[in-house]
């Protein structure tokens, strides 16, 4: 199992504008590392640079301890799964799986046993003599997976491997890929635009935007401590609600979009120095206001859309110029046009400096604990 | 130390880039070599020869400048040949395309046994110009030929199809149209089948009839294919040779002396390679104009799907 190290890696096509700049990251051996970002953010380009399918125009790529900038793809100890699977249409499933082994001149007997092992692992044993076009989407995906792991390469690269599958199958394959990676202990670099995949699969994830790293970290850390408004709105579904806020030093409170005020406790008074802020709050942290709720932090909003999903209810409303969403557990009989009293707690909000986009406060009341068989909410 | 590694890197990347170009050239080499020897070189050689009088072996003997061209332009025979070629194009291209279009339209209906008709209609594509000309030579035969038998059956005067200067070019054109129908039909049918069926379904929901659909959907959607087939037919017409050689040998009284036949006669019968080359240059210009028109107008009309 090998580590992959990127030092100041950058990429430019026209020698003027960089599509990827200043990437510094070390992917640890055996880690499941997810590259996530909106389309066009450069995540696929970065993966293809690691694979050797694109030239690296600046910086150093190390695979294991070796500098790999100029190694051909086949010498990088990698395997790769493509979005469209890239199965050879004229070869059978078995021939597809052993294709790379054949090229590497591995003896026939060993090819066969390795192919059978992998096929058994992925439930492909019955299909070994079929052509790719005779398989369903999910089966093709498995063949692509089998082809990647049969090589026993220490590093596996995946470029949006699940995006051509339907939602149900995708959820299933997520956990299957994760289990295989754990079992084989390979280093996985996984590209996706789907933040759910990133959250559920990655040991660590890297969020890319406009070719720059936005944040690297464990999924839940990123969820709880987003580095900037982009990350805050990209991770999480529905996304974090954002609105402009202005600090009032005299009253020591924040005025959110001119309609709602939240008191800032004395211990956080340093926050008041940043005048212009962005206020963020996750939909699940917007709670219904009860009788006990103080008058100031109470807010009555008009629902402009309601989605009742059975186990949860999501409704949206306007705050300033933004459409916000709130997510409540259980079923709530709400109608469009209803006026709903809600509350926002100081502990739940997230604050960003409007000038630098840096986070100055993260929510604090988010974790639930189990201590001595008692649930603490 | 650092600089040297940078220059090494630059060198290796240049090496790598040129590797691509060199590999590509390796794959392209056979084509480039053959094109050079059999297309580009002879084209320039033809232009070069057109300024010379030549000996029997086709070598340039005496530089005469544009004299070959002025000679041609004044020559009654060449003017005649141009006239015949233009008439031939006018006879064959519109009629041929319309016939093929008609066949493609009726063969595009979803009817039982349509495959049989499609095969029949495309069959002339598999027939060589020599074979077809021999068959038509018989059909046009003054005494035993089908056409004159038919005319006499109808009590009409017989026609000297290939021997009468007024009829010969028309007769050759008829056989040419027949010969080219198969190819044009096949291409047009392919074009028709590429039109999205949903267009017709939505037109049917709107209540459009057959002719309305033909005018508003089929013909516009087929326009790139039509344009392509018109161009190919034009070029084919300019290049016709075999039917002339077998049916009329350019006669009677040069009425069917089409340009390629004229070049052939001038070069390989009269050994006048200089003037033959000048005619070849003329042929080249004609086809160049047609192709340029195709690129200029055709590209714009292509509906990519």
């Amino acid at each position: 199992m090998k580590k992959v190290e990127l030092l100041n890696v950058s990429k430019t096509y026209d020698k003027k504008t960089e599509v990827i700049s200043n990437i510094n990251v070390t992917i640890e051996p055996g880690e499941f590392f997810v590259l996530v970002g909106p389309s066009g953010c450069g995540k696929s380009t970065m993966l293809r640079m690691i694979a050797g399918l694109e030239d690296i125009t600046g910086g150093i790529l190390r695979i294991g301890e070796k500098e790999a900038n100029h190694l051909p793809p086949s010498k990088r100890d990698i395997s790769m799964v493509f979005q469209n699977y890239a199965l050879y249409p004229h070869l059978t499933v078995m021939e597809n799986i052993v294709f790379g082994l054949h090229v590497k001149k591995i003896p026939k007997l060993e090819r066969k046993t390795r192919c059978n092992d992998v096929a058994a692992m992925l439930g492909l044993s019955e299909y070994l003599n079929r052509k790719p076009r005779e398989l369903s989407g999910g089966q093709r995906q498995r063949v692509a997976l089998a082809r990647a792991i049969v090589n026993e390469a220490p590093i596996c690269l995946m470029d949006e491997p699940l995006s051509n599958l339907d939602a149900k199958l995708r959820a299933h394959m997520r956990s299957e890929i994760r289990q295989i990676q754990r079992r084989l202990g390979i280093t996985m670099i996984y590209v996706t635009h789907d933040q759910v995949e990133a959250m559920t699969m990655g040991d660590r994830i890297m969020i890319l935007h406009d070719g720059k790293i936005q944040q690297i970290g464990k999924p839940i850390d990123i969820y709880n401590h987003p580095a900037n408004p982009f990350v805050a709105t990209f991770i999480g579904s529905p996304p974090m609600n954002i609105a402009e806020g202005v600090m009032n030093e005299m009253q020591s409170e924040i005025l959110i979009a001119d309609i709602c005020k939240i008191k800032i406790p004395d211990e956080d008074s340093r926050l008041l120095q940043t005048k212009q802020v962005l206020v963020g709050i996750r939909p699940e942290h917007i709670k219904a206001a009860s009788k006990e709720t103080s008058h100031e932090s109470r807010m009555v909003v008009e629902a402009i859309n309601v989605e009742i999903l059975g186990n949860e209810t999501i409704f949206s409303f306007k705050v300033g110029g933004h459409e916000w969403m709130a997510k409540w557990n259980g079923q709530w009989r709400l109608q469009v046009g209803d006026r709903i009293p809600i509350q926002m707690k100081y502990e739940s909000i997230c604050l960003f400096d409007r000038k630098t986009n840096e986070r100055i406060k993260a929510p604090t009341d988010i974790e639930n604990f189990i201590l001595d068989k008692e649930v603490f909410l | 130390m650092k600089e040297s590694s940078v220059s090494l890197l630059a060198k290796s990347s240049i090496w790598k880039k040129s590797l691509n170009a060199r590999t590509a050239l390796l794959y392209l080499f056979p084509s480039i070599l053959l094109f050079s020897v059999f297309v580009f070189y002879p084209m320039f050689r033809t232009i070069y020869l057109s300024f010379f009088l030549t000996d029997q072996h086709g070598s340039a003997a005496l530089f005469v400048g544009l004299e070959n061209y002025t000679y041609l332009l004044e020559s009654q025979a060449f003017r005649n040949s141009i006239k015949a070629t233009i008439l031939f194009v006018l006879y064959t291209v519109p009629a041929g395309v319309i016939l093929a279009l008609f066949l493609a339209l009726i063969a595009n209906e979803k009817l039982r046994g349509i495959g049989f008709f499609r095969t029949i209609y495309s069959s002339t594509m598999g027939i060589s110009v020599a074979a077809s000309s021999v068959v038509w030579l018989f059909l046009f035969h003054p005494s035993v030929g089908m056409f004159n038998r038919f005319l006499s059956l109808m009590n009409l005067p017989e026609v000297q199809w290939l021997l009468d200067p007024d009829w010969a070019l028309l007769s050759v054109s008829i056989s040419t149209i027949w010969l080219n129908t198969g190819f044009s039909f096949l291409i047009l049918l392919g074009g028709l089948q590429n039109i999205d069926g949903y267009l017709y379904e939505s037109a049917k929901i709107d209540g459009a009839g057959y002719w309305y659909q033909l005018r508003r959907i089929t013909i516009p959607m087929l326009s790139p294919t039509l344009f392509f087939i018109i161009t190919i037919s034009l070029i084919n017409a300019f290049q016709s040779f075999g039917q002339i050689d077998i049916l009329t040998k350019g006669g009677p009284s040069q009425a069917t002396n089409l340009i390629v036949y004229s070049i052939y006669r001038e070069a390989f019968v009269n050994y006048q390679f200089g003037t033959a080359s000048a005619q070849a240059v003329f042929l080249f210009l004609c086809i160049l104009i047609v192709t340029i028109l195709q690129f200029k107008f055709g590209e714009r009309k292509v509906h990519y799907q």
Partner: protein, 270 residues
């Protein structure tokens, strides 16, 4: 479709099919007729005897011509497939400086009619001492811009990930071409092959120029010989020759009609 409309279409279809196929049908009938029957202007022969066919093989070295035609057509077909597929591969899977320029060169060859260059080509063949040889009849046609475009169009539909996957597997460029691209493009190769065979089999002017004895002469020139020898009297023999010559290509066309139609439309229009 309504019943009366169907009747109209079937009538048009049948009528057109009759008109179009009449010359071939008639030639077929004549090929079984005696001289007398032909003079009487009959359409059906009294008996289907193969006399004319035996005679045409006596009159001409037709078997030799057929073999020659077959060798030349197959030769051009194979040559075109190799040369064109290599060029198309370079255009699609290798990016290099000057690709557009070379592509333009290929396009420009389509504007140069073969007939405009035949005089120098004739002398080239003479200088190479290739008159009356198979290579003189085949090699000039190996490179074909149309064929290159047709294959290029098909190669372009092959996902580039296939190339990348093979790179990761460590396949060389040529191995990728040979083991992946060619097998995957079988249908296009068949189309181009059939087209090349058909056009070469039917070629007339070039064999006329570069052959002057029976050595490598093709059937098309044989037909010309037959027709000029057998003036008026023995049309049955001539038509037997015609039928023998068109049967291979007609068969090829009947088998591959659908494929050819699809392939040619794609190559021509996209």
């Amino acid at each position: 479709m309504s019943f009366p409309k169907k009747i109209v279409f079937y009538f048009l279809l049948l009528f057109s099919a009759f008109l179009l196929f009449f010359p071939v049908m008639y030639a077929f009938m004549i090929s079984f007729m005696t001289g007398g029957e032909i003079m009487q202007g009959k359409f059906f022969p009294q008996t289907f005897t193969f006399d004319n066919y035996f005679r045409v093989f006596e009159r001409l070295p037709l078997m030799k011509y057929l073999i020659n035609s077959f060798v030349v057509s197959a030769g051009v077909m194979i040559g075109q497939l190799i040369v064109c597929s290599m060029a198309a591969y370079a255009f699609v899977f290798i990016s290099f400086k000057g690709r557009d320029f070379i592509f333009f060169l290929f396009i420009s060859t389509m504007m140069i009619p073969w007939e405009a260059t035949m005089i120098p080509n004739f002398f080239t063949i003479q200088k190479l001492d290739w008159t009356n040889t198979y290579q003189g009849l085949t090699v000039p046609f190996f490179a074909l811009a149309f064929g290159t475009f047709l294959l290029r169009q098909h190669f372009k539909t092959i996902p580039k990930e296939l190339f990348e996957a093979s790179q990761i597997a460590g396949l060389s460029r040529f191995a990728f071409f040979w083991r992946v691209i060619l097998p995957v493009s079988k249908t296009s190769l068949v189309t181009l092959g059939a087209y090349g065979f058909l056009t070469t089999w039917n070629m007339y002017l070039w064999p006329l120029l570069v052959t002057n004895n029976d050595q490598v002469r093709t059937v098309q020139i044989g037909l010309k010989q037959l027709q000029s020898q057998e003036v008026a009297t023995e049309w049955g023999v001539v038509m037997a020759g015609v039928i023998v010559v068109i049967i291979p290509t007609l068969l090829l066309l009947f088998i591959g009609q659908k494929q050819l139609q699809k392939g040619l439309t794609q190559g021509a229009l996209k």
